[in-house]
Amino acid sequence: MTKQDFLEKLKTDLEIDSHLSLDTEFKQIEEWDSLTVLMLLAFIENNFHINLKAKDIEVLTDFNSLIKVIGEEKFN
């Protein structure tokens, strides 16, 4: 999937109403909380088969940094 598809799918599956771009910082997202992080982990596991932990997300700031952790090569 493209990075844009990734953001769109995230918005739907995590029910985020605010606009997301690659450099949106997590803390700027109104709906962002511990539950969102759990959904995000499950989302990444389901879509990329990568098993991240909540503490892996804590050190990240925005979607660019998240995509680096997932692996740039997974996106086209």
């Binding site: 029910e15 909380d33 511990s34 539950l35 759990l38 499950a42 389901n46």
Partner: protein
């Protein structure tokens, strides 16, 4: 010969705790966001002198306004909030309801997987000729275990009891069930002290966990993230197994009724399963997560909302244990 559910009743205790009430105690927390996300507005809790059995008696009496209680010959009582270590709460229920003394009665200790276990067991008891009318009761008062400063658990869990009547029938409406257990996760949702392993400790220290919640080993502890992970990883494969065991496909399911743990999580699972909103029951706004009572409450509500055409419904319970159980039932009438 098979069995079918002919009636369900449920009761909440009288004390309603709204999000506004909780916000007075936890002014720093955004309960409006909690309501829209987790999907809970009110939960009900017993008062100090009231127990799960008191709620169970009310639920059963409500059921007996419509059905003859003298025909009951088996009681299955699901609880983690028994009256005593011993005797069995189901025995006391038999007496409180003045049921026939030729009634079998026992308790079983399960949480969120308890109702589906109970249905499967009731069906097996009836099919094997051991009983004709099984009274399946779920009754839980987690509020007695929850630390007053444990914001998350106080917001999520509510007390309730339900009574379901399952009877012998030529219609085989209770289908096949799948079970599972992973006891390595026993401490993900636990009340550590007060039973045989650890005595209740009057000096147990409070500790902070999760999103700034307080509990102690005398109280309920839930590792929310781990329970969540367990659930979302379990569900896709489990639903597939349930369909296979019943020899049906997704197209045959008119409604999915899962344990109502948390609206956001249920919605997430719904999307992973690619099920449309209208086929997936989510309603815990009034009552919250009532443990083993969420599925019968949901089933009752759903049955009242449908016309009388035959429905095929998948029921799935999962949680404390860790334990899970799901299956398929048919429904032709309001419960």
């Amino acid at each position: 010969m098979g069995s079918k559910i002919i009636g369900i009743e449920y009761v909440f205790p009288q004390n309603r705790i709204s999000n506004e009430t909780l916000a007075l105690e936890f002014p720093d927390y955004d309960f409006a966001q909690f309501e829209s996300k987790v999907g809970i507005k009110n939960r009900y809790v017993v008062n100090e002198k009231q127990t799960g059995l008191d709620l169970a008696v009310q639920a059963c009496e409500k059921l007996f306004e419509r059905f003859e209680k003298s025909t009951i010959d088996y009681i299955l009582y699901c609880t983690q909030s028994p009256e005593y270590f011993l005797p069995t709460t189901a025995c006391i229920l038999q007496d409180r309801l003045k049921l026939n003394k030729m009634t079998a009665a026992f308790d079983y200790n399960l949480g969120c997987s308890g109702y589906t276990y109970g249905l499967s067991l009731a069906n097996a008891i009836i099919k094997s000729g051991q009983a004709v009318n099984v009274l399946l009761v779920t009754a839980e008062t987690y509020s007695k275990f929850i630390h007053p400063k444990d914001r998350t658990n106080r917001a999520i869990f509510g007390d309730a009891a339900t009574a379901t009547l399952i009877t012998r029938s030529a219609d085989n409406e209770i289908g096949e069930f799948i079970f599972g257990t992973d006891g390595s996760g026993y401490d993900k949702l636990i009340v550590k002290n007060g039973a045989a392993r650890n005595n209740k400790d009057p000096e147990a220290v409070d500790f902070i966990y999760g999103s700034d919640n307080t509990t102690s080993d005398n109280n309920l502890f839930m590792n929310g993230p781990e329970v969540f992970n367990f659930t979302v990883n379990l569900i896709p494969n489990l639903t597939k197994q349930i369909l296979e065991k019943n020899g049906i496909t997704v197209e045959n399911i008119d409604q999915y009724i899962f344990h109502q743990a948390n609206a956001f999580m249920l919605n997430f699972m719904r999307k992973q399963l690619q099920v449309e909103r209208k086929y997936f029951f989510i309603d815990l706004l009034d009552g919250g997560n009532t443990v083993s009572s969420t599925i019968p409450i949901a089933l009752k509500k759903y049955s009242l909302a449908i016309s009388n055409s035959q429905q095929t419904i998948m029921l799935v319970g999962f949680g404390v244990g860790l334990s899970w159980c799901g299956g398929v039932i048919k429904l032709k009438h309001k419960l």
